[in-house]
Amino acid sequence: MKRNPFPQAMLVIWGVMTALPLLWVVVTSFKDDAEILNDPWGLPGELRWSNFARAWSHGNIGKYFLNSVTVLSVSITLTMLLGATAAYALARYDFPGKRFVYFLFVGGMMFPAFLALVPLFFVVKNAGLLNTLPGLMLVYTAYSLPFTVFFLVAFFRTLPTQVAEAAMIDGCGPFAMFFKVMLPMAKPGLISVAIFNLLGQWNQYLLPVVLVSDSEDKYVLAQGLAALAVNEGYRGDYSRLFAGLTLAMLPVLIVYAVFQRQVQSGLTAGQLK
């Protein structure tokens, strides 16, 4: 059967268009400024690892990186804990006002973050949390709850009731039921929604730009990288910028390459939204 070469060519072209820019950044991060400015396609004369050291310390990428990791390690834990407990209560118990509480949470998905931006700035400011990492942790958690609750309510409701009934007959209390029986059963759902939140919070740009704007040593990575790009434009230290970009990009890409199946299913699970 004769095959039209056009579709296959399109696949290759799009693959190159996706991969080439990423490779270009990694290769460029080893060049010096003269090489970067004069020959975008040239290879680096030598492997200048010092670019990375400068980006990490003088470019503050190291500090920004650490801030991001600090914020996320608390906010993801808190998101999963609060999201899972609230979702479990909504999925497995009856109480007056349950529908209202459910729609209060889920309704949050309909609202763009921009609507809350101005009041949120002042709420955080009045709480004394402006330009602090704990402020970001709490805000990230709060804005991740609608989807987390929505997803996990649906998930808890799909779990079979027989196991819970058996555990109850064996004298299992309600709290032990949740932590020892339901959470382990809900593991696949928890992992999906955790990956979804992890990438969502890691990629967050609007909230840190508004809530941590005045103190540069509290910047998270996304924000710090953008600030670095603006500064390097003035200063002309391009090699440091490319090295910083590589440092921000590669860890995520490596994690993705290793866990790509889980990451893809975790993120596309968001389509339920």
Partner: protein
């Protein structure tokens, strides 16, 4: 058990509700109130101006300009992204192109990069002197096509749209791919026996069976198109000459550069109603099953 349920409900619901109420519900509610004032944020002094902010927004040429750009994105981003993603995923899943797994991994990669990384990356690619794009054009002898991509008001908007498409196609290739896996193979075998062309197969079999997923994709992309703030803020700050300004960037400038918090909240309210309209329209059209909650 019956008597034991309220301690658990309190312990499980109240912390989440408290945090959510304080940082999400209350700001959302306050936004509507502030949008009816001329508050400048510095003191508790403000005047009620009713709908004046909204009236002024309607006639504000900067706001209209930004809205126009979001409207263009709203039409172009979903159409281009969905067409490309449908094409690629039907090649990979239905026609089983060689190396399908590898393509999927590469196509999806931009999705895991933060929007800041994507913005900075493309800002450098578009750099007129040292950028990959002009470098490639010059290497191919097409010097005439080299441009100051983000510095030219006639080009900058399209340059940003291209980045949004680049960053999103892979996600929908995977999303559509997952949906295509559930289409029975017999349908395609029958189509092939009948001599159906690839185009006809995509149009007559795949697309109708995928229609639900395509509609979900459309809502997603429409909501992305109403935003666009992060990329614009990083790549152009709305310039040159407001040629890439979007509503989010407008609101950010009005709030945090001009301190017009009443006006900025009004822009937020406008964005909310736009988002709501799109979501409701999409739910109406798709008539998806209601969330059962007894």
């Amino acid at each position: 058990m019956k008597h034991g349920k309220y301690p658990l409900l309190a312990a499980f619901l109240l912390p989440a509700l408290g945090l959510y109420g304080y940082f999400v519900i209350s700001p959302y509610a306050q936004a509507f109130v502030i949008s009816a004032t001329d508050w400048h944020g510095l003191s508790n002094e403000f005047n009620w101006v009713g709908l004046d902010n909204f009236k002024r927004l309607l006639s504000d040429e900067y706001m209209r300009n930004a809205l126009w750009h979001n409207a263009l994105l709203l039409i172009l981003l979903p159409v281009i992204t969905i067409v490309l993603a449908l094409f690629f995923s039907s090649m990979l899943n239905v026609h089983r192109a060689k190396g399908a797994g590898l393509y999927k991994i590469i196509y999806f990669a931009p999705q895991v990069l933060s929007v800041a990384v994507i913005g900075v990356l493309w800002k450098e690619i578009y750099n007129p002197r040292s950028g990959l794009l002009n470098g490639t054009l010059r290497a191919l002898g097409l010097d005439g096509l080299a441009k100051t991509w983000l510095g030219d008001p006639a080009v900058a908007f399209w340059a940003i749209l291209a980045v949004m498409v680049w960053a999103n196609v892979g996600f929908y290739v995977v999303l559509f791919g997952a949906a295509m896996q559930s289409i029975p193979k017999e349908l395609y075998e029958a189509a092939e026996l009948d001599g159906s062309s690839r185009w006809a197969t995509l149009w007559r079999i795949t697309l109708p069976l995928l229609w639900d997923t395509v509609q979900v994709a459309w809502v997603y992309l429409a909501i992305l198109a109403l935003d666009g703030f992060a990329l614009v803020q990083i790549m152009t700050r709305g310039g040159p000459n407001f040629s890439t300004d979007v509503v989010g960037q407008r609101m950010y400038d009005v709030a945090f550069s001009e301190n017009k918090f009443g006006m900025a909240s009004a822009i937020g309210v406008v964005l909310f109603f736009l988002t709501l309209t799109i979501t409701v329209a999409a739910l109406r059209i798709t008539r998806r099953e209601r969330i059962e909650f007894s």
